[in-house]
C-alpha cells in the first residue's frame, strides 16, 4: 500500500518520495516510539530493561559467573557483535566447566518477544505461563533487553487503575 501511495505522490508532482518498506510493523517491532491510542497501553518495549548480562559466543563461562550474579538475573544472553541474540546461559551451563566457551554450552534459539507486544496480551497468553522474564528483541533479532513478569503485571495494574 505504501508503494502505491509513493507512486501516487510522484504522479501528483512530489519529487522526493520514499517508500518505507517495513512500515509501521517494522518500526514498532524495532522498539521505536509511537503515537495514538496504543501509546496509552503498555507494550513490552515500554518496560524493557537493558541491565541483563550479555556475553560474546567465545567468552569463557568462568569469567561470566560473577557478572551474571551481579546483574541480579539468573541468566546471561549470548549475543554477537551486532547484539543479535544467539543463545542463553543459565543453570548448569553456568556452573559446570569454567573453561567452556559460551557458545558450547548455551541454550540455542531462545524464545524472544517483540517490543510491540501489548503487555496485557503477553500476560494472558498460555505460552507465557510461568515465565519470569522475557528476552525482548527487534524483528531483526537484536537484543533490546529483558522484561520481567513482575514489572509487566505492575504496569498493567497501573494502566487499569488509570483507566477507571
Amino acid at each position: 500500500m505504501s508503494a502505491r501511495a509513493a507512486w501516487r505522490l510522484e504522479q501528483l508532482g512530489f519529487e522526493r518520495v520514499y517508500d518505507y518498506v517495513g512500515s509501521k510493523a517494522d518500526w514498532f517491532a524495532c522498539g521505536m516510539p509511537r503515537e495514538g491510542k496504543s501509546a496509552e497501553v503498555p507494550w513490552a518495549g515500554d518496560l524493557v530493561r537493558d541491565d541483563v548480562s550479555t556475553c560474546a559466543p567465545d567468552d569463557r563461562v568462568g569469567e561470566l559467573r560473577d557478572r551474571v550474579v551481579d546483574s541480579g538475573y539468573d541468566f546471561c544472553v549470548v549475543v554477537n557483535e551486532h547484539r543479535i541474540v544467539l543463545g542463553l546461559l543459565r543453570g548448569d551451563a553456568l556452573s559446570k566447566d569454567a573453561t567452556a566457551r559460551a557458545d558450547e554450552v548455551m541454550e540455542l534459539g531462545p524464545k524472544t518477544i517483540l517490543p510491540s507486544n501489548p503487555v496485557e496480551k503477553l500476560l494472558g497468553s498460555r505460552s507465557s505461563q510461568g515465565v519470569k522474564h522475557w528476552v525482548v528483541a527487534t524483528s531483526h533479532g537484536a537484543l533490546l533487553g529483558v522484561l520481567s513478569r513482575a514489572e509487566a503485571e505492575r504496569a498493567l495494574e497501573d494502566n487499569r487503575a488509570r483507566a477507571e
Partner: protein, 67 residues
C-alpha cells in the same frame, strides 16, 4: 521512481526534515502511528488532500507492513 528505504534511512531522513505519511485508514492511524506522521489514506490521496504535505520536503509513505 520512489526509493524503497528501511528503518535507518527513515530515521536519517526524518532528522533532516522529511515528512511521514500514514496511508492506512483513519481508525488504524488513530490506534497507532509513527511520531508526527500526517494521515491521508490511500483511498483519499489526491491533489487536494496532498496539499497538507510540504512539496519542498521529502515524503516517506508507510502503511502497516510489506503489503
Amino acid at each position: 521512481m520512489p526509493e524503497m528505504i528501511e528503518l535507518e534511512e527513515v530515521q536519517s531522513l526524518v532528522d533532516e526534515g522529511a515528512q511521514l505519511l500514514d496511508v492506512m485508514s483513519r481508525g488504524e492511524y488513530e490506534d497507532s502511528h509513527l511520531p508526527g506522521a500526517i494521515h491521508i489514506s490511500l483511498k483519499e490521496l489526491d491533489a487536494q488532500s496532498a496539499a497538507k504535505l510540504d512539496r519542498d520536503r521529502p515524503v516517506i509513505a508507510y502503511c502497516y507492513d510489506y503489503q
